[in-house]
């Protein structure tokens, strides 16, 4: 069973959104299920600070031994920070997808977009582990 923490929001493309203490700021990464499916991650290409993305626009690329996939922003917003730690240690995505393997911190354009995403139960259902 993959780990699907309660309290996070999820997309069908297997990204998660975690709300932070700062109002209107969220952290985005890929789920435990996604990292297992991808296998060993060898490179993560992330956007730069200040880049803006619309909802479900590709914001980067994740390269694993088996495949390369696009990363999609679950919600519209501006990148406040990209996880520079992944440059040297992309394997963090495998090891701690919800922790040090996070990808970008976004300032939301429209917090109500969060409502459109799945909750943990719905995501478990989505990956057939409900």
């Amino acid at each position: 069973m993959s780990e699907v923490p309660d309290g996070l929001r999820y997309t069908e493309e297997h990204e998660y959104v975690r709300e932070t203490e700062a109002d209107g700021e969220v952290v985005v990464g890929i789920t435990d299920f996604a990292q297992e499916e991808l296998g060993d991650v060898v490179f993560v290409e992330l956007p730069r600070e200040g880049d803006s993305f619309d909802r479900m626009e590709p914001f980067g690329t994740i390269e694993a031994v088996k495949a390369v996939s696009e990363l999609y922003t679950p919600v519209s917003g501006e990148v406040i920070e990209a996880n520079g730690g992944l440059e040297d240690r992309p394997e963090l995505v495998n090891e701690e997808p919800y922790g040090d393997g996070w990808m970008i911190r976004l300032r939301l354009d429209d917090p109500s977009e969060l409502e459109g995403l799945m909750n943990a139960d719905e995501y478990r259902e989505h990956i057939g582990e409900g």
Partner: protein
């Protein structure tokens, strides 16, 4: 015996399978008046022997001249071992011999090639080669745009006009134009004018070293001006001259490209050639082309693979860093073998002898009536321009009659801010006697 792979029956079968009645129907999209009606106007077929005789007759019409032409393609000695080795069947083969399982030799040769390109240019990573120097410069401009996320590309006015055209073509596809910093009176660009020409929209400046006229630019000063604006410096180098010069990387270049033909590839009639492309490691994800790298197999032995292929069209076509998904394998191999044969000292000797020949010619032409050194005060390595009172075309014609290719006419390059004259190049192959004949012919 037929060499056509598909029989009439095969063709009928294929047409039936796609629901088309006739091959001609496949060309319906081309208006009838643009199509050739009937047979092509070709002579009748020849027997193998007749074809040999005809191609031999055509080949005999080629004139073999002693070459003082350069402008990017030079007449250096190619040791006969180069030809013997590249024609080995393990190397002399088709387009993409890159599967690591069966191509360790090819991949190792590419890896050695990249290493030598890095050492020469003072860069940290090199790719497996591109088509030629000018397209390498065009790719470098696109790469700088991608790295800096800026659009502006600025070329030194002393850049080879053909390089300029190729970069312009690359940019035209994106609706952009190439800006220019004109060369100063002395034939090189003034770093202060470069500083004025770059701003927060500039992705890169392209500088040639030595430049089109054979002159040494102030790379370090230009690099400072470029970096102050947050842009990259792309240097297009003469790789032979680099054996004598401080490397562009050491002087501050971010990307170095070059025409690699002088290494082991004949001057011929201008090709085939091979583009060298090297960069600082920071930009490797935006670098075009293929890269061979080392790895270890499961027993810990060294092996070679292609790496970072996601940047390529091959895997992510719509988001690739460039459309270049190949290299000039055989020409790059020739360059690798050449550099291995001559070695560090040998290449230096080649460059030094070329330098001495150029300076001997320069001294003699300075004393010649009707000829004037275009840039008498600038340091040159192995190529320089002279203005001539007589039309350069007429000198070239007279020289050809004497068995000499007396350089490249400056009037071939419209837009070049130079009087009529000749661009003269010298290699280690030229003798004093040949240079004396050149001077005599130019003098009339």
């Amino acid at each position: 015996m037929s060499f056509v792979p598909h029989s009439e029956a095969d063709r009928r079968e294929m047409l039936r399978s796609i629901g088309v009645g006739d091959v001609d129907d496949l060309f319906d999209d081309i208006p009838a008046e643009l199509r050739i009606d009937g047979e092509l106007d070709l002579p009748s077929a020849l027997s193998e022997w007749e074809a040999y005789r005809e191609t031999g007759r055509l080949a005999d019409e080629n004139e073999s001249l002693t070459s003082f032409a350069g402008a990017g393609i030079y007449d250096h000695h190619v040791p006969s071992a180069v030809d013997h080795l590249i024609r080995r069947s393990e190397f002399y083969t088709a387009y993409t011999p890159y599967q690591a399982e069966v191509s360790q030799g090819t991949l190792q040769a590419i890896y050695e090639f990249q290493t030598m390109v890095c050492e020469l240019t003072g860069m940290e990573v090199a790719n497996a080669s591109l088509y030629d120097g000018p397209t390498a410069a065009g790719e470098a401009a696109l790469m700088a745009r991608s790295v800096t996320r800026r659009d502006g590309v600025v070329a030194a006015g002393s850049l080879h006009p053909h390089y300029r055209k190729v970069i312009e073509t690359y940019l035209a596809g994106m609706g952009d134009e190439l800006d220019t910093v004109p060369a100063a009176e002395g034939g090189t660009v003034d770093p202060a004018r470069v500083a004025d020409a770059v701003d927060e929209d500039t992705a890169c400046v392209v500088l040639q070293y030595p430049n089109f006229f054979g002159l040494l630019e102030e790379v370090e000063e230009v690099a400072e001006a470029v970096h102050d604006a947050g842009a990259l410096l792309v240097v297009a180098a003469d790789p032979v001259a680099l054996a004598l010069l401080r490397s562009p990387g050491d002087a501050g270049a971010d990307v170095v490209v070059a025409e690699g033909q002088p290494f082991g590839n004949p001057q011929s009639f201008g090709g085939p050639v091979v583009g060298l492309f090297a960069s600082l490691e920071d930009h490797i994800r935006d670098m075009p082309g293929r890269i061979a790298a080392t790895t270890e197999d499961e027993d810990g032995r060294r092996g070679y693979v292609l790496t970072l292929q996601t940047r390529e069209q091959q895997i992510r076509r719509e988001r690739a860093t460039s459309n270049i998904c190949t290299n000039q394998g055989l020409n790059a191999l020739a360059a690798t073998i050449y550099l291995s044969l001559v070695g560090r000292d040998g290449l230096r000797q080649v460059a030094e002898t070329s330098f001495q020949n150029a300076h001997y010619a320069r001294d003699r032409l300075e004393e010649t009536d009707g000829v004037r050194l275009l840039h008498p005060d600038a340091p040159v390595v192995r190529e320089f321009a002279v203005a001539t009172d007589e039309a350069s075309g007429s000198i070239l014609e007279r020289a050809a009659g004497e068995g000499l290719l007396a350089g490249v006419s400056l009037s071939r390059f419209p837009g070049l801010e130079a009087p009529d004259g000749l661009l003269l190049a010298f290699t280690e192959k030229r003798t004093r006697a040949e240079i004396d004949r050149l001077v005599d012919v130019i003098a009339g």
